[in-house]
Amino acid sequence: MSNRLTGNEAVAYAMKQVNPDVMGAFPITPSTEIPEYFASYVANGEVNTEYVTVESEHSSMSVCLAAQAAGARSVCATSSCGLALMYELLYVAASCRLPVTLACVNRALSGPININNDHSDSMGARDTGWIQIYAENNQEAYDNFLMAMPIGETPSVRLPVMTCMDGFITSHAVENIDLLETDVVRKFIGEYNPENYLLKKENPLAVGPYDVSPYYMEHKVQEAEAMKAAKARILEVAAEFANISGRRYGLFEEYRMEDAQLALVLIGSSAGTAKAAVDKLREDGIKAGLVKIRVFRPFPGEELALALANTRAVAVMDKSEGFSANGGPLFAETRSALYDLKERPYLIDIVYGLGGRDIKVEDFEKVFGRLADIAVTGETGPVYTHMGQRSKEEIA
């Protein structure tokens, strides 16, 4: 079934097909359309979800995690400061092993306030214990949302899942996408049947204890083990999804990487632009390639090291600042993953696209130009730089 939808509508449509038990809803640009579309499904009787119009994102996540603990499948959507307001509860959902599904429509974080896309919001939540899956386009946003529940709800995983897409670029752009039939979706995601939950008649359950030192660390280790186990489950679900959709997903996508000597590592919608640059360079005989990270938590470190093992120079493109003074979060992960290689490529980090700053094919060509120089000279120059910002003189 083919359709023309925005990313937000595609995710809302996925939610409709899932018909979750509970949705927590609070508006924030650019994710607002998701609860809006869903509200119309509720109003038209197309779903029978308990739609809870909360008074803040903090309460939205509180409602979702509590509903999940009570035995219900719950979903919500947010962006930017909304995700930041949920921050405390993101930890609670993960540590109580409650597989809530959250559609994160990536947007810059205040301040200064900015409504456009970068990855500061979800990157800020990268250590909360949530699985994070990023989409390049509307099709992936739809597909990832459907795969989230079979991943998170698996007993060996039992972790909440955040599916991310780029605000405005993906959330508001209309694209042709293939939708699955609702009965196929229902069969794919199955019923949510947790072993224990608050409303189970047979045995009352207590959730969210004061976890004293003799137990707390054990629980954290179990959570860490669950995140490790998630990697295999994500691939398993992707394989099952390929069976019903014909679309194949991995932990990341390798684009023209077979013999690539120069490569980019990045996340999200910029991949489309970067692929165009790669194609152009390939026509000129330059062995350029791209790795688009799809799953950032759990981080596919070993797999990524293998994918980059035969390259000469790599630019990691971070669409968020970490203010570590040592590069962005994707760079830190990638450089760490490559450490165990016997022969490592040269590695630089470029922070780009903050607060919706545009990036073009020519910009990526310039990055590849830098990588080509590095490959020849063996001199990286400054390892951590920003791209696309005006100079002090231009601003003045």
Binding site: V22, Q68, A70, L198, L199, K201, L205, V207
Partner: protein, 312 residues
């Protein structure tokens, strides 16, 4: 909404908050919780929601829980939203035929988690109309973290953030009137109560709240021996003094109609309530008579206003 109260019958019900919890001796919170839960009909199940608090850290210390019912704690400021989520799940699963029987939803939070950091979440849940009871056990300060003032702390009270010194004389500000704020939400049932005597008032208010459909609120006075600085054995007496001095009047507001639940036979002077508590000791020093006068004037004024509202 009324229930016939028979103390003997009620205390014979199995406890839903078991002994062995770790609350201090002489703490009001434990008796408030067991008193409220006792108002549940025997055959009805409940999910208890708790804000981060003394109560939470003392009743569900992994791997032990003191609750016979299902229980959830998620954070300090969101107990009402957490309860909303459980209630939403119940509605959804009930509609889909996945849950049987009646389940009641009861939230317990202290004054910090209610008057202060949890007020937004509480207000939101009440406005949305979830079928739940929110119980604030008001011990008038942040007791769990070592007795810091909250907006429920009464004027002049000594806390660790409103200490008494050469210039400071305890808390400078008034106590927020939370019960009235909840009345302004136009919810079906609001009551202010306390565990006094044979627990009849607490029981009746709790029963009314639990068995009234929609969002209901109980504000329950809950003394704290450490924060209020009284000997543990005097708990019951302190609560009775709060009520008989009209520092903590007992009343209910049902569908907007105000009713006094208890009128003291003889309204005692406020000093009777202040004197046994270390947190007010400085009010009795020479030169501080004005504090007691102010405290008395404030209690009198509020009591008069309540009498007017209740038509008593």
């Amino acid at each position: 909404m009324s229930t016939v109260y028979n103390l003997k019958q009620e205390v014979e019900k199995p406890e839903r908050l078991t002994g062995g919890h770790r609350l201090c001796a002489g703490c009001g919170a434990g008796i408030v919780v067991s008193g409220v839960l006792r108002a549940l009909d025997k055959e009805d199940r409940a999910v208890v929601v708790n804000a981060t608090s003394c109560l939470e850290v003392s009743t569900f210390m992994y791997p032990y829980t003191a609750y016979m019912d299902s229980y959830i704690h998620s954070a300090f400021e969101n107990s009402a939203a957490t309860c909303s989520g459980v209630e939403a799940a119940y509605n959804a699963l009930k509609r889909r035929g996945k849950v049987e029987g009646t389940v009641k939803f009861i939230t317990f939070a202290g004054d910090g988690g209610t008057y202060d950091i949890g007020l937004q979440s509480l207000s939101g849940a009440m406005e949305r109309g979830h079928d739940m009871v929110y119980v604030c056990y008001d011990n008038e300060a942040y007791m769990n973290t070592g007795i810091q003032r909250s907006s429920a702390t009464p004027p002049f009270a000594r806390t660790t953030t409103t200490p008494v010194g050469s210039v400071g004389q305890g808390k400078k500000q008034n106590k927020k009137d939370l019960t009235e704020i909840l009345v302004a939400h136009h919810i079906p049932y609001v009551a202010q109560t306390a565990p006094i005597g044979n627990f009849k008032d607490l029981h009746t208010r709790a029963y009314n709240a639990i068995y009234t459909e929609g969002p209901c609120f109980l504000n329950v006075l809950s003394p704290c021996p450490r924060g209020w600085d009284y000997p543990a054995a005097r708990l019951a007496e302190i609560i009775k003094l709060a009520v008989d001095t009209c520092v903590w009047p007992l009343f209910e507001v049902e569908e907007g109609v105000w009713r006094l639940s208890y009128t003291p036979k003889k309204k005692l002077p406020v000093v009777d309530f202040l004197r046994p508590q270390g947190r007010f000791r400085h009010m009795f020093q020479k030169g501080n008579e004005w504090m007691i006068e102010e405290a008395q004037a404030s209690v009198d004024q509020k009591w008069e206003r309540l009498l007017e509202r209740t038509g008593a």
